[in-house]
Amino acid sequence: MKKYLAYIRCGFLEGCAYRSTFITGMLANFIQAVVLYYVWKSIFAYQEIVNGYTWEIMRQYVFVAFLCNSVFSMGFEMNIAERIVKGDIILDLLKPLSYRGMLFFRMLGTAGMEFAVTFLLIGSIYLAVNGTRYLSGIRAILFLISLFLGMGVKFCIQYLFSLLCFYTDNSYGVTKAREILTNFFSGALIPLSMFPGVLRELVRYLPFQGIVYTPCCVFIGTFSIEECVSQILLQIVWILLLSLAGTLFGKKAFGVISMYGG
């Protein structure tokens, strides 16, 4: 276990290495969150209730969803994908530990810094807009659990997509496809309950809701406590299924490593 913790440390240091990248990234986050907020505000100015959501709920959802989606962002994923394409992955495979475990903890370290700052930034905007009146202790705890599990779901999906890079050289395409898919189906852009009939049903059977929609609903209270627990269990089931898929696919993918020359 100690060796994995050492990877968190290195990941964290790596995340801190570029101050300007970090600051501009945060600035972009801030602008994006504020823009989303005003877009929804103008929608609700025309209509009081949109698919069962009131402005009261939506102005919480915007920020919580943003926070949930900001963990394990795309930069790190591009990096892994490129290591596969360029063949540098062989250096990771020369270490006596699980490749996937190593990635997870390294990512946790890199995301730790990013997340802490996003948490403070988005948290303060949330409080400035909503105040403390919607906060509840139990929900906050359940939210943190669900958020952490959501990171697990997201990581499993990212891992599966990164393995595709053994078969294609287009690391950018693979990561972008992953991002668009999760952004849309996780509820990061639009709450899933606003989806039209068939799509709404479909999304129930996909793992993506666990990344954003589940923790969001846990926090803002659109789930009852029983629903929260069952949805959290569902997240765990998805993590197990997706990691099994990752293991099976990984076995196949690592067999095709082939590089000539250096």
């Binding site: 290195c10 006596p96 000539y260 250096g262």
Partner: protein, 275 residues
């Protein structure tokens, strides 16, 4: 220590004709051809041996090393490193081997080099005492102290390679695979590196398998040569035997050039030996 039997590796490579038309054609109907990088080689290396892989570009040296380290699956054949199949037991194998790919680096690009070493200490669960002892020794020989606090991206090629070498030896592996470990290293540092490797080889009975294009250094470090040519073994014996075969006065470099140019004679030489 290392046993290899009928080892083969085939690559599937895309076959594109030249020009725009060729590229478009490939887009719709891709054609592949198989390239045999390693065509069924066998050899056996005992504990404590230091063996050099020699061969022209594309002879299959790196491919063989990648299969020996367990990161690439052979197309056919058997490998045993310390009794284990390296691909099936990657993690176990990695614990017992040290690897340097001179073209690549295992150092973390954006964080100080010393952090990379610290990470290795945790990965291999080294004791503080062992870590400090080895770091001091490597720093003295390889001159690491000058750049330990720099991130790897700021190092020169020679510095980077020296740090990579130290990183691969930190956990004192019984087997060491070195693929062009002295790229970009200046002459004096190179001398030091080979003297150091020789010491490791003799003191700890570390088995060393390396590829390089630098004949002089190979000569001083390795007692045995395996010469590869287009995926086949041309010659596998001690360096003295190679000298015996040619008239005195030729340097190793001249012999190798001779060998590459008239490869078939050498094959028959190996066959004679077997009879």
């Amino acid at each position: 220590m290392i046993e290899v039997q009928d080892l083969k590796k085939e690559y599937k490579i895309a076959k594109k004709s030249a020009g725009i038309a060729g590229s478009l054609k490939h887009l719709i109907m891709p054609k592949y051809e198989t390239l045999e990088a390693v065509k069924g080689i066998s050899f056996h290396i005992n504990e404590g041996e230091s063996v050099a892989f020699l061969g022209a570009n594309g002879a299959g040296k790196s491919t063989t090393i990648k299969m020996l380290t367990g990161i690439m699956k052979p197309s056919a054949g058997n490998i045993r490193v310390m009794g284990r199949d390296p691909f099936a037991n990657r993690i176990e194998n990695a614990r017992k081997t040290g690897v340097v790919f001179g073209q690549k680096t295992q150092l973390w690009w954006d964080i100080p080099v010393v952090e990379s070493f610290n990470l290795l200490k945790n990965i291999y669960a080294l004791s503080e005492e062992q870590y400090v002892r080895n770091m001091e020794r490597f720093s003295a020989i390889l001159g690491l102290n000058d750049f330990l606090s720099q991130p790897a991206r700021k190092l020169s090629l020679g510095q980077r390679v020296r740090a990579d070498l130290a990183a691969s030896l930190l956990h004192e592996p019984p087997v060491l695979f070195l693929d062009e470990p002295t790229i970009g290293v200046d002459v004096t540092a190179k001398q030091k590196i080979y003297a150091f490797l020789k010491e490791v080889n003799q003191e700890k009975k570390t088995t060393i398998l390396l590829t390089s294009h630098d004949m002089k250094d190979l000569e001083s470090l390795c007692h045995r040569l395996i010469i590869l040519e287009r995926g086949k073994i041309l010659f596998d014996d001690s360096i003295e035997k190679l000298f015996d075969r040619y008239d005195g006065g030729m340097t190793l470099e001249q012999i190798i050039i001779e060998l590459f140019e008239h490869g078939t004679d050498a094959v028959s030489y190996v066959e004679e030996q077997e009879i």
